[in-house]
Symmetry: C2
Subunit: 404 residues, 2 copies
């Protein structure tokens, strides 16, 4: 079977760990599998290169940043190949360019356009393990490019698609995807499987196993992949298209996002176009707005509403400036802001066909004395904003209610 394995920066952070990766890879090779290994830069290396560049210039040129950062993965592929040689296993390293990964020319966040896997197939057919540099590619004109955050996962999944791999394994420092963050919820359970859509919701909700774009790519090209640990032999979590029996599970996982802030505009004039004006301005300023709730105002006779929304905490100041600039034009009252919120979400494709999920969640929170400040729902997700101080308590209670 052709297997693509991806190892992140922590898994290859020292020569000792690279040796461990080599031993694991060699085991699959010994069983007769064809193995393609995608590696990231050794942990700390990329940050160090960025520091050197920023030492020279606060906003370094993106083409040159790609030339610079691509060296990180190139270092790892050579060392990983050497580690395999030391075990007597034939292995050849390939940079993104050598592996035939062609991207567009948008430096630091290039998109993969095309993969020509002939060289990889040739090397595999000669009995080699092939080590490919993650995170990088080359334009048709020969420019070095990088794929942006989570780029090595993307390389692995794109290679699995191009090579029609039988298995794609994303090795990381956790055992897989859990029903909730096991550091907070002690009896959280590892999931055997999860659908792309559930994984995407959990990723965007702050369960940082993988970046959304890699999951989206896998969904688009129907690449089934497994998230598993490079520290043990435990099976991980399979991520794949939703199957009928997946709907039997109403709630797949619970996440708590502590990185949101809330802004409330009091007494916004209740007339058409006002909300559009506000969120257009926020969008133009690259403020990533998440939840939006509009309430009836408890104010005076003029028709007005209170408008609340959440945004990423680091964007709070920027959002406030945008709102302040709009005040003369729109004429609302006070602006209230708080960083003391947590967004608690439950995710599951089973919600499509099961009722009473929201009721059970709200009831659980009420019993815990947790006040719900905002509510937002999608077909497979229910999110509520609660007091940050009660976030973990709320998460534990909701987890207990759905997973017993």
């Amino acid at each position: 079977m052709l297997i693509v394995q991806k190892y992140g920066g922590t898994s290859v952070g020292t020569t000792e760990r690279i040796r461990n990766v080599a031993a694991r890879v060699a085991k699959y090779h010994a069983k007769g599998d064809k193995v393609v290994v995608v590696v990231s830069a050794m942990s700390g290396v990329t940050d160090n290169l960025i520091r050197l560049a920023k030492d020279l210039m606060p906003l370094p040129n993106e083409r040159e940043m790609d030339v610079l950062l691509a060296t990180g993965e190139q270092t790892t592929i050579a060392l990983t190949a050497i580690a395999l040689h030391s075990l007597g296993v034939p292995a050849v390293s390939l940079t993104g360019a050598q592996a035939g990964i062609v991207t567009d020319g948008v430096h630091t966040k290039a998109k993969i356009q095309n993969i020509t896997p002939k060289k990889i197939h040739d090397l595999l057919n000669q009995g080699n393990i092939v080590i490919v540099a993650g995170f990088q590619g080359q334009t048709l004109e020969g420019q070095v490019t990088t794929l942006g955050r989570g780029g090595s996962d993307l390389t692995a999944i794109a290679l699995a698609a191009a090579l029609k791999a039988g298995l794609c394994q994303i090795y990381t420092d956790v055992d897989g995807v859990y029903t909730a963050d096991p550091r907070i919820v002690k009896n959280a359970k590892k999931l055997d499987e999860i659908s792309y859509d559930e994984m995407l919701e959990l990723a965007s909700l702050g369960a940082k196993v993988m970046q959304s774009r890699s999951v989206e790519f896998a969904k688009k090209f129907e690449v089934i992949f497994e998230v598993r640990s490079s520290l043990n032999e435990n099976p991980g979590t399979i991520v794949k298209e939703e199957t009928r029996n997946m709907e039997d599970v109403v709630v797949r996982g619970i996440s708590l996002d502590k990185n949101q802030a809330k802004l409330t505009l009091v007494a916004v004039p209740d007339k058409p176009g006002v909300a559009a004006r506000i969120f257009k301005a926020l969008g133009d300023a690259n403020v990533n707005v998440d939840m939006i709730v509009q309430n009836i105002s408890h104010g005076s006779g003029v028709p007005a509403t209170d408008l609340s929304f959440t945004a990423d905490k680091p964007d709070l100041l920027k959002a406030q400036n945008v709102i302040d600039a709009l005040k003369p034009e729109i004429g609302f009252g006070k602006v209230l802001t708080t960083e003391n919120i947590g967004k608690l979400s439950i995710v599951g494709v089973g919600m499509k066909s099961h009722t009473g999920v929201a009721g059970k969640m709200f009831e659980t929170l009420a019993r815990e004395g947790v006040n719900i400040e905002m509510i937002s729902t999608s077909e497979i997700k229910i999110s509520v904003v609660v007091d940050l101080a009660k976030g973990e308590q709320a998460m534990k209670a909701v987890h207990a209610a759905f997973f017993g």
Copy 2:
């Protein structure tokens, strides 16, 4: 004018020093020159990468070492380009492959086969400074290669030839080539010019300004270059084909090589083929033999001679083993070895047309009470082996005799 400038690892060892390099390069650019900059890996980086590889395997695969080591120069080109941007100067980095440097496939010591400088010309014509990674190239099949020790000098000189540069400057941490090592001979003088052949003799004699192969390449392609300091604005030493007026200077420079050892085979049978047998065996064992002297033996009635030769100190044990293995076959007497020698050499194309140079040197040594153990001469060089303890004293005296 088109100028190629090369900066070594010490000159780009920190971001602060890269900034200094950028400032110097920018000055030439501001004067209207087209500048191509060749850089080495930041000092320490290459050694660190080698250490990581050897940590995994004592003799790592050479193809993978090239993939690994090429990252060092790639890092420097990006940082140098960014440093130039920070000064508001347009600059573009190119890896060896991107610069069109095609080599053969002999990993870790590849030879440049061909340079296609179109991309460099295009970028220069658009007003850019072009930063090229030294020490590296690519085969026609897309394999990453490196050029071996002194490879960045070679890149610079080869680019100067391919681009028909008006000037090639090799920046280093010394002011140029001196009549003798200024750390030993206080009144050593910096040379304004030196011929390729003199430079080659001095390089091979242990004056470590540049590797011989770069000078040989420059001689072959008639590239005039200047060795100068990256720490000040002083003019350096021009290295070029010998001109008639160069012969007016009898002795160009003096070097002292402390890295040789001497072996003497006592009472070697005086018959044809014996010397050939000995030096063939040493050559097969990769022992680099330098001087050879054969004396009449002061022994008994059997026709025999004493045979002495010098070799690099690290090769002494290997040489001894080769000699010991030959003893039963050839049947010589004792083998004497010493590491306490220094090889003092005077070099100058003027020796071809001037007499009395050797006499003056030997006379000077005699006056100092320095015994000459071995003598070897070429058309432009006289070397003598003396007691290591008297090496520096001898050098100072000979320097005073020729340079006053």
